[in-house]
Structure formats: C-alpha cells, structure tokens
Symmetry: C2
Subunit: 168 residues, 2 copies
Amino acid sequence: MGMFTRDIKTMNDLFVHQLQDIYYAEKQLVKALPQMADKAADKQLKDGFLTHLEETKTHVQRLEEVFRMCGAEIKAVDCPAIDGIIEEADEVAGEIADKSVLDAALINAAQAAEHYEIVRYGSLIAWARQLGRNDCASILQKTLDEEKITDKKLTSLAEGKVNLRAAG
Amino acid sequence: MGMFTRDIKTMNDLFVHQLQDIYYAEKQLVKALPQMADKAADKQLKDGFLTHLEETKTHVQRLEEVFRMCGAEIKAVDCPAIDGIIEEADEVAGEIADKSVLDAALINAAQAAEHYEIVRYGSLIAWARQLGRNDCASILQKTLDEEKITDKKLTSLAEGKVNLRAAG
C-alpha cells in the first residue's frame, strides 16, 4: 500500500490491511521466539516460548486461511509496532547482567507482544463480525483465545516464581 | 544506559529502567493524543482523546513522583515500542480516505498504546511489590486502572457506534 495514496476506502480495506499487519507481526514472532527461548534461564519459561512458537506458526496458517476466505492476496505489510516491541526486547536484554532479572524482562517483553496481538485480533474480530464475516471471526477468535492464555501463563510464571527469584 | 554495558544488574535496576521507558512513552502520548483528537470525526471519540490527554499528563506526574520516591533520576529512555505504535498509527491514518473508517482505525491505534501501557504498568506494579515498595505500586496502580478504563471505553465506542458506521 503506497504512502499518501489513501488506498483504504472501506472497512473491508481496513480489515485486509490489518490482516497484512498482523501477518507480518506473527512472522516476525516466529523468528523472535527461538531467540527468546535461547536467552531464558528458567526451564518452564524456555519451554513456554517454544510451545508458543508452535502456536504462532499455526496463527500464521490461520491468517493465510482468512486471506483466502476473503479473496485477498496473502501479503505482509511492515508493522513498526511489532518491530519496536522486538527491538526494545533485544535492547533491554542486552543490558541485563543477571539471569533471573533477564527472565523477568523477557516475560515483560513477551507480554508486550501478546497484548499487541490481543488488541489487533480483538479489532479484526469485531470488524469481521460487522462485515458479516462470522466465519473469519471464528478462526481469528481461536488465535485470540490462545494469545490470552499465553499472556495469563506468563503472568503466573512471573508472579509465582520468576519475580521472586529476580528480587532475591 | 549504554549499549552492551549490562547496566541492569538487579531487579531494582530493571524497575528503574522500565520507569524510564514508560516515562518516555507517556510523554510521547502527550504529544500524539492532540493529533489523534484532531483527526477523529466522531465527537465522543475526539472528546475521549482529549480527556485521556489530561489523564496522561497526570500519569507523567505520577511517574515523576515514583522516581523521587525511589531516589532515581527523572529520566526518559527511548522506547522503540511506543514509537512504532505511534508511527504505525500515523501511517495507517494517512492511507484512509473515509472518516468513519479512520475513526475505527484511530480506536485500534489508541488501544494498541493502551495495551502497551497496561503490560508495562502491570509488570512495574508486580516488581514494585516484589521489591517491598507497595507505596510505589499503589501510585502506579491508579494509572493502570485509568488505562484499563480507557481501553474499555474505546471498545464500547467501537462496538456500539464507530464500527457500525464504518461498515455502513
């Protein structure tokens, strides 16, 4: 989509644009999650990142399915937000000396990505319903549910163990 | 904080770093919200952005209070995540021809910022409690509560009115 061309004329255009944005984001996360797993010291956190990597690959496939259902080209557009979230995660991780403190920061970074996705999928689902595409909405809902579960697991891990160790 | 110097050695260091990050983010939002209000066509959305601008100014002051309580320098560090979220909001807004569709996109953009803050404040509060600083946690909690209320209001506005109009 070109700059200043005002290519988004309808809600359906906005829906497809947002699909392209989150498609890019999910693909970036497929690259970032193994690196986060490498950096994690806590075994449960490391495993959690790897489990979520597999889920994220499924999220990419679901988006491709929704593109096809809408008759839209499967395409990614740059998503400066997810790039910023991943860049910030790398920066802060590079500044941390202590492994337990790093785990706390990794959880925080992962939750920023989760919440970004929660917002985007939330809007996509609402827009799909408004556009009469409950079939697309229900596929996207599966992913949203998984993102929310991952976010809750990260909170439990932080508050139940990682933060305690990091502050110790 | 220098690159590759691994200046974050303790959870308290991480807490202060995150304060500096969200301090930058809140100040960027103080600049961005009037522009979002200018772009909004729906009167309730415009007013909502302006109300949240006033709240955001209070959030900046609360962060300054927490810096002082921790004996830390009041300082912002670059936050690529919020920069990316704002950049993406500007980009997508620049591509939208229809005012009602633009309102739907503005809400989505604002919710990305809200959720970014919800994650960061959530972690800051958990870390403050872990560090025995319930006094700092309770100040940050006030802001978190306001961010969550703003997010809910945006969802209601989208689903109750703006999306319907955008799809019409």
